[in-house]
């Protein structure tokens, strides 16, 4: 049996961060992951992340994963791939399946960072080929570079459903609709708005009655549900699709913790390990970090991993009490700042009517995925101004502030905690550089010049699709709802290295449409 100071199970953001932290303190660390690629969920996440600088905001998930792996390995952690851990036993021993054989390892400390599994609701026809998890669709598109299907229906409007829905559009798939049995969109409004403006309809209080097809899915019958999630007769809709993606939530992958005998507690529908603030379970020296200890985000998983890694280093005497305490306080503060805002874990299940600033939350955003034209002006990021200026359509308290850090002119303020709504300071003088538009992970910032001459206005919007429009190309301007407004000519397409593959497309519309046009759509060839 091989022995390590620390064994980490799972090479996602939590596990890699734990390994980096502990190896940095001098521990001999082994990380085991069942996948052929390290990074856990991160290697499928090609979108820019929320958060603040210390949480790696505005960086795409894939890149964060690569950075973490490099850090852990540089510090000497050994990462074993294709190595599912099949058992975790008292005395901190693990059983690893490797190839046809098995290996036994013992750790003086163990960190379980196994992440989460997708929930799979059963409906008639759910086993038909063409029905797949949202994670499978991501794996196909981003790791194997194959489209999951031509026309897809997404079940689930949490962040996973919204993000994967957008990624399907980026891969050139059609998205027939996003369905959710809940009466409100579960994920961030900005993620929903990104989809809605490309013309994707949302059906809340709807679920799948059945998927049909003989050898594969060819269509879906969806139905409206009442408050108790029962189908209301006569309220069915049909969708012709060849693929159904399920994003019905994640459940912590706690099998190993349960097997080892860690004390568990019920939290809603899930069972979570009972943990200290640094993730130590009821078994001394066994820690849980990341989604396995409660579904959150990669940003929080990374901090939880570092907390657990540091705690293991302290426990085994690799770092002194003062050094440990100082680091612990910094990490706990960073974690607390992420847990601010209306989507914070402690607020799960609660319904807020207003933002922390006391502004009514948009109900249309929660039901249809977009802001009503008449309500946009209520939010502090939207102010009329002469000349070029940003319009920040970020209207929910989410832990995010890279827009503020991006602006060289200091036009954007996020004050009083990172979940505060961004505010446009019209005294600062926007230079029209577009950095705020490009960094915003919610793609919620637009630039407006309401007086571009000839009664026209110029709207600049983020664009992450192919093919890129050409200067002079005529297309259509779409409203926040995806509704077609008017023809629109592209006057500029900017793609600077600092934009990290988010192009900025500037198009011209009649002035009356300046506060309505939010997406430029290529006209289908006749």
């Amino acid at each position: 049996m091989t022995r390590y100071d620390l064994i980490v199970i799972g090479a996602g953001p939590a596990g890699l961060s734990a390994a980096a932290e502990a190896a940095g303190a001098g521990l001999r660390v082994a990380v085991f992951d069942e996948n052929a690629k390290p990074g856990g969920q991160l290697f499928k996440q090609i979108h820019k992340f929320f958060g603040a600088k210390e949480h790696k905001a505005k960086i795409r998930g894939v890149k964060i994963g690569a950075e973490l792996l490099a850090e852990a390995e540089k510090r000497g952690a050994e990462v074993f791939l294709n190595s599912p851990v099949a058992g975790l036993y008292k005395e901190r021993e693990i059983l690893v399946r490797r190839g046809e054989g098995v290996g036994h390892y013992k750790g003086d400390a163990i960190i379980v960072a196994t992440g989460a599994q997708e929930n799979m609701p059963a409906f008639a026809g759910w086993t038909l080929p063409g029905v797949m998890g949202a994670g499978a669709a991501q794996t196909l598109m981003h790791l194997h570079r194959v489209k999951p299907g031509k026309r897809v229906l997404m079940l689930g409007s949490g962040n996973v459903g919204l993000v994967v829905g957008f990624q399907l559009r980026q891969a050139g798939c059609e998205l027939a609709a996003v369905l959710d049995a809940a009466p409100r969109i579960g994920g961030y409004g900005v993620h929903a708005a990104k989809l809605a403006r490309t013309g994707v309809p949302f059906y809340l209080s709807h679920s799948i009655v059945r998927a049909w097809g003989t050898d594969k899915v060819t269509g879906v019958v969806a139905g409206e549900v009442d408050g108790g999630w029962n189908f209301i007769p006569g309220r069915e809709k049909q969708f012709e699709v060849d693929t159904v993606c399920i994003a019905a939530g994640l459940a912590p992958a706690t099998q190993l913790l349960k097997m080892a005998g860690c004390a568990m507690r019920a939290a809603g529908a899930d069972w979570l390990p009972v943990c200290s603030a640094v993730g130590e379970t009821s078994l001394p020296g066994v820690y849980a970090a990341g989604d396995v200890s409660g579904i959150e985000e990669a940003s929080s998983a990374m901090i939880e991993g570092r907390l657990a890694g540091g705690a293991a280093a302290r426990k085994l005497g690799f770092i002194g009490p003062d050094e440990y305490e100082e680091r612990r306080q910094v990490l706990l503060a960073a974690l607390a700042s992420l847990r601010e805002g209306m989507f914070a874990p402690q607020k799960r299940g609660q319904i807020s009517a207003q933002t922390d600033e006391g502004i009514d939350l948009s109900q249309t955003l929660l039901r249809k995925g977009y802001l009503e034209e008449g309500e946009v002006g209520k939010y502090p990021g939207v102010k009329p101004a002469a000349g070029i200026h940003p319009v920040i359509e970020c209207t929910q308290n989410i832990p995010c502030n890279p827009c503020r850090d991006a602006c060289p002119q200091g036009c954007i303020k996020v004050t009083g905690g990172i979940a505060a709504l961004p505010e446009y300071d019209d005294r600062a003088g926007c230079a029209g550089c577009g950095l705020c538009v490009a960094v915003c992970p919610g793609q919620a910032i637009f630039l407006l010049n309401e007086d571009a001459g000839d009664g026209l206005a110029e709207v600049t919007a983020p664009y992450e699709f192919l093919p890129l429009p050409q200067k002079g190309e005529l297309g259509a301007a779409l409203a926040r709802s995806g509704e077609k407004l008017c023809p629109a000519e592209v006057v500029r397409v900017k793609l600077a290295p600092a934009f990290d593959r988010t192009a900025l497309v500037t198009f011209r519309v009649p002035r009356d449409f300046a506060m309505r046009a939010r997406f430029w759509q290529k006209e289908a060839a006749a």
Binding site: L140, H144, R145
Partner: protein
């Protein structure tokens, strides 16, 4: 169905095209990609039929967890093709039930 270019990931790395056999018929895929990806790119949806009710199954989790995608590969049944790299000349067959009667 292949994503040769992508707005964020950029152009796909060129792979080596190889021939494999699906139920005896020649098809092509990229060497080293999961067999399931090659099948998806070729428009194949059904991987197997269940034992009792003969219901079709295809790719579901794509990461080796659910065993929905198993097929008969080089004569061996119950191979999870989503985590099996494609090799030149591989013989892949739709699996019926537990793969009884496989030669």
């Amino acid at each position: 169905m292949r994503l040769t270019n992508h707005p964020i990931l950029g152009p796909a790395a060129p792979g080596r095209e190889v021939v494999f056999f699906l139920d005896g018929v020649a098809a092509t895929g990229l060497e080293g990609e999961p067999l399931a990806a090659a099948l998806k790119a070729a428009g194949v949806a059904v991987h197997r039929y269940t034992k009792k009710h003969r219901r079709p199954r295809g790719l579901f989790c794509a990461v080796g967890r659910c065993t929905d995608c198993v097929m008969v590969v080089n004569g061996r049944p119950n191979v999870r093709v989503c985590v099996t790299p494609l090799e030149e000349g591989m013989r892949v067959a739709t699996q019926y039930g537990a793969g009884e009667g496989v030669k």
